[in-house]
Symmetry: C2
Subunit: 211 residues, 2 copies
DNA sequence: GTAACGCTGTGATTTATATCACAATGCACT
DNA sequence: AGTGCATTGTGATATAAATCACAGCGTTAC
């Protein structure tokens, strides 16, 4: 399904949707022009229009894009029918922050289970979410139809946790551990490398100090 | 300085350095081949060699790259002479997790000050780091020579905080708030959009379910 | 009704990024 | 010393992504 759509485009569509939702909530506007959305997203107007092409949404000249319809079209494209469930593994400092943040947000993308190998955590409820022991994973995933997981365990544990997740049926990973996870091609991995990103920011900050 | 080096290359160099450090620590090896480093980093061997070209580091055929020297060369390229200082603004759930993580790590890239507008936090010490009130920023930045900052405040506050940071002399931002920050071209912004990344992982997970 | 305008949709083009492919290199072995 | 061979360094090439530029259209103004 949609074998050809690019990673970058999906990311921008997700961003557009969030911006459009804000626009709808705050400004009570009904239509938006490509250049307006582009400015909010930090891209060019042509880029926005190209992305609209991908999802097959048509605006109208002179009026622009109907915000409500567009949000719906993006949702139709990005979202699962119904609710898509997500698990989180590793309820440490970072895991807890993410869990708290997503609790009660995004109605159609929900963290429904968390896992940790710390026996003090298994069985407890954290930010409204039940924490399970690792060995419960296959059962829980089957019951809750989980196919996406967030990995926030220490780097040394990340590969083995990823293997366990893949074996339990996960096809999408959001990985915060600073390691390149080895997974089958049938699994998608999105890496969030905070350390590298900070080094990039620091490097370019120094570059700009000259100017 | 190095006006032409690409964002992506800098990110990979940072990654290589971390991988090489691990290699040196764990395996006690002295040399590494491009294809070996490539596999660890999840890129192709040609990519690694091209990146080496950028920093002007030369390996030797048949032996590969001298790990120690290479780490040093990358450092010479990426790092500031001495220690580069970083500030963090918004000591909430995410900010605290990041602060704790970086405390006592990376000796040449150090979070030296945190800021929050919550009067209960200003004046306290969190993970070994003094928390200042927002109005102390210009003074602290000048004293500690801060030019890079991490933004972990709520989305609604992010633009105004960014403006304050830029006014205080920051040239590099690592932004976790889900907004496109408007800054002068002389400032570099690296966005970490966790929500969008999670939606990407979920989307491609669904795509892969078919296969 | 119709003319003028400003926006959309999209083929063509440019720019950025990654890969290929192979000559040059230097070590290991004889 | 010479030969073989796996690896480097890099020009050429391929692929991916973004931008340009403009025809065509719907809306508005009159
Ligand atoms: N916190 C940050 O700002 C930050 C920054 C960069 C990278 N990271 C990475 O994110 C990850 C998590 O960081 P953190 O600061 O939350 O660490 P943490 O130590 O606070 O949390 C790790 C959690 O994982 C659990 N865990 C350990 N091994 C496990 C296993 N095999 N199975 C299941 N659970 C296991 C631990 O019990 C703990 O709760 C690490 O890989 C770290 O390198 C974090
Ligand atoms: N936690 C996550 O997993 C997550 C995920 C996606 C995005 N984010 C984004 O990261 C940011 C922080 O998230 P969080 O969960 O840590 O939120 P949080 O509410 O826990 O923390 C925000 C902190 O910022 C401080 N603050 C508020 N306004 C400020 C101002 N004007 N100046 C200085 N400090 C100020 C608050 O006192 C608080 O300590 C938010 O923008 C959020 O959207 C977080």
């Amino acid at each position: 399904m949609n074998a050809q759509i690019s990673d970058k485009t999906v990311g921008r569509l997700s961003l557009y949707r969030r911006l459009l939702s804000n626009l709808l909530r705050e400004k009570e506007e009904e239509f938006v022009f490509s250049h307006r959305l582009a400015r909010a997203a930090g891209v060019t107007a042509a880029q926005v229009r190209r992305d609209m092409m991908v999802i097959g949404y048509n605006g109208s000249p002179k009026k622009g894009y109907a915000i409500g319809d567009l949000i719906e079209s993006i949702g139709y494209f990005l979202d699962a029918p119904g609710v898509q469930t997500v698990a989180l593994v590793g309820v440490g400092n970072l895991g807890r922050a993410i869990l708290t943040y997503f609790a009660g947000r995004r109605p159609n993308l929900k963290i429904v289970a968390v896992f940790d190998n710390d026996p003090n955590k298994a069985g407890t409820v954290i930010s409204g979410c039940r924490c399970y022991a690792m060995q419960d994973m296959p059962e829980v995933f089957k019951e809750k139809k989980v196919n996406t997981a967030i990995v926030t365990v220490p780097a040394s544990q990340a590969q083995s946790v990823a293997d366990t997740l893949v074996a339990a049926g996960v096809r999408g990973l959001l990985n915060f551990a600073p390691v390149n996870l080895r997974v089958p091609v049938s699994v998608y991995v999105e890496d969030m490398d905070i350390t590298t990103s900070l080094e990039k920011a620091a490097f370019f900050a120094r570059c700009r100090m000259a100017s």
